[in-house]
Subunit: 217 residues, 2 copies
């Protein structure tokens, strides 16, 4: 792994939207705030950073080392990851990918108001698992796991293995609507880093970036 | 109907979100931009304006006569409409209400990634139709109809009758992702006002507010 000064960081934040019809979609409440703060912290530290940001997320504070591109659907995010990952050394996958998309794609009309609607959804591709299969020896991937506090360690460790990533940030569900975060970082080699409890998201972003060299060594 | 100087405007903008589980929701792509511009145009004109705004919409330009409250679900929007409508004379219903919500409410856990998901949705209450039943003689309601250009006039006129509102803004689907709008206003008394084609949304907002006295007379 290259040192921090040679790191080129790709980070995803915000949520994918899977269209159901011309106006409605299947979405995720993720605001993209935490991912944007991590991206900004990286840029401020001196790392050239590319941020892939969900289209409903507010635009982040600008910085000359922070380059922002928008994504919409999971398929769109996949295309942009394939485009940008080869020129980066580290991927932090903070985006909330919908995991499901309407079977057969979106209806081409607005579905009229009615008494009921049956919606059949199928799995979207596991983007992180796909990328980790093809990553180069000099590349690292850090993913996020979101879950209830009592099962989160288990979910995170399973995800670390299943997705074959270098580290997982285990992020309690309560984080979504809070200004603070109590996260733990599980590395592929078995090391665990626990962040201070109830850190502000800004402080957590700085902490995660300060751990990059450690995580990615 | 009171004159413009006595108008107290309530306007809704943005989209409702119906939770499916702890993170996912059924939503609508409406950005709330047009509704925010109408609200701002009203405040600038001298009208005391209350804006009920979907939680994912960006915060509008502030103005001392513009008072903003956020809503989340259709049920939340309903509660806020019941709270604020009695103290207002005119309601412009520009929000995109989801029309459907998951049967039985949201799951209390994050549904795990899987191969398929069956989602059964049921109709939400028709908020505009409900409000128009109980509105006072001095109150007016203007709703929006969104549809494909070729069927829009029909949809708008049907909606005017079914919802028993005072006017409908017929808004082509193409408007959603555009900076311009080609809208027509259909009034309960049979009058029709066509806005200039491809107006900027800001100019349309001014035009609609300038028509308020006419529409609501």
């Amino acid at each position: 792994m290259t040192r921090l000064s040679q790191t080129r960081l790709l980070i995803t934040a915000g949520a994918t939207q899977e269209p159901i019809d011309t106006v409605r979609f299947f979405g995720n409440r993720s605001s993209g705030l935490l991912g944007c703060q991590i991206a900004l912290a990286a840029a401020i530290t001196g790392i050239e950073t590319t941020l892939l940001l969900g289209e409903s997320a507010p635009f982040p504070t600008s910085h000359p080392r922070l380059h922002v591109h928008r994504f919409s659907t999971t398929r769109d995010l996949e295309a942009k990851l394939n485009q940008y990952f080869p020129s980066h050394t580290t991927l932090i996958m903070a985006a909330a990918v919908s995991d499901f998309t309407p079977k057969g794609g979106a209806k081409e009309e607005k579905i009229p108001r009615g008494s009921t609607m049956q919606l059949e959804l199928v799995a979207t591709k596991d983007l992180v698992a796909e990328l980790s299969k093809s990553k180069r020896a000099d590349q690292r991937i850090i993913a996020f796991a979101l879950g209830n506090s009592d099962t989160l360690e288990h979910i995170a460790k399973q995800k670390l293995e299943r997705k074959n990533v270098d580290a997982i940030v285990a992020n309690p569900l309560e984080t979504m609507d809070a200004s603070t975060i109590t996260a733990t970082l599980y590395c592929k080699d078995g090391r665990t880093f626990a962040a201070t409890k109830n850190m502000s998201k800004t402080a957590f972003a700085d902490w995660l970036i300060s751990k990059l060299e450690d995580i990615c060594s």
